[in-house]
């Protein structure tokens, strides 16, 4: 499995990327929405994009809109990971085609729970 982590903060890319690598993903990075579109076009097999909202050049929301215009990327799962926590922002992102929404700050467990819910990682055994 391959994931694209899109955030203008290298620190956040490392944190999110580390969680995804631990979950078995190969990780590709982008620092803004436009770079992410380029990475998506350049790499086959990306199944998940983790997307910050506020970025220079192209925002995460604009990236979601652009991805959803392209039929070849219709199976890519889009998960916003952002500080934008207002209800109308969440609704906008989901309406535009994002599948999940995580508000910073987060724990690794929050990300892994979302990935399990989306069927991208196996469910944890519960005792």
């Amino acid at each position: 499995m391959k994931a694209l982590v899109i955030d203008d903060s290298r620190v956040m890319r490392r944190i999110v990327g580390g969680i995804l690598v631990g979950a078995g993903f190969e990780v590709v990075e982008a620092g803004d929405g436009q770079e992410a579109l380029d990475q998506l076009a350049a790499h086959d097999g990306i199944t998940l994009c983790c997307i910050d909202w506020n970025m220079p050049v192209m925002t995460g929301f604009e990236f979601v809109v652009e991805v959803r215009k392209q039929p070849q990327w219709r199976d890519v799962t889009l998960m916003m990971i952002t500080t934008e926590g207002e209800q109308d922002q969440i609704v906008r992102a989901l309406a535009a085609g994002a599948h999940e929404y995580v508000i910073k700050p987060f724990t690794p467990e929050v990300i892994l729970d979302k990935l399990q819910f989306l069927g991208l990682v196996e469910m944890k055994e519960t005792v």
């Binding site: 203008d8 903060s9 290298r10 620190v11 956040m12 490392r14 944190i15 506020n54 970025m55 220079p56 952002t82 500080t83 934008e84 926590g85 207002e86 508000i103 910073k104 700050p105 987060f106 724990t107």
Partner: protein, 156 residues
């Protein structure tokens, strides 16, 4: 669900403390209890750095974090799970401190009714010119014995 409010209702320390403690617990310390209100006199920041984000609107509101360089380096190490003596590059420092104020600012923004867009973070060696601004609140926290300042400004 948090009740939307005006910026003026944030002129108290509690909402900001809650946001900051949540951030430190989940992403910096991995456990609660390391960030608390600063109870001593207003601290001097050694080799201070200033980081801020602005929230657009009829009145631009600025959320600013102030920390000493050494404290900022320790925050960077904690965020990136680096060793205690590992050198911190300027790029990692700015990125980590910027992300901290981005998360604090974004969460403060979500408390108010109909806020505008959040700016990208700015990190500086000197405090920005706030002569045309009004300070809405200022509070200090202690993290591992070192002070961190958070202030909220209305910019005209």
């Amino acid at each position: 669900m948090t009740t939307p409010a005006s910026w003026e209702t944030l002129v108290g320390d509690d909402p900001v403390l809650t946001i900051a403690q949540d951030l430190f617990t989940t992403m910096i310390d991995g456990e609660p209890g390391h960030l608390s209100p600063w109870l001593a006199d207003t601290p001097d920041m050694d080799d201070a750095r200033y980081t801020w984000v602005d929230v657009a609107g009829p009145i631009v509101t600025r959320v600013m974090l102030t920390a000493g360089r050494a404290t900022g380096e320790n925050l960077t190490r904690a965020l990136l799970v680096m060793g205690a003596e590992e050198p911190v590059s300027d790029a990692d420092f700015a990125d980590a401190i910027g992300e901290i104020v981005n998360v604090v600012g974004g969460n403060i923004k979500s408390l108010v009714t109909s806020p505008g867009a959040l700016s990208l973070p700015v990190v500086a060696h000197e405090a920005p010119d706030m002569s045309h601004g009004t300070r809405l609140m200022e509070t200090y926290f202690g993290w591992k014995g070192a002070p961190l300042g958070v202030s909220l400004w209305a910019l005209s």
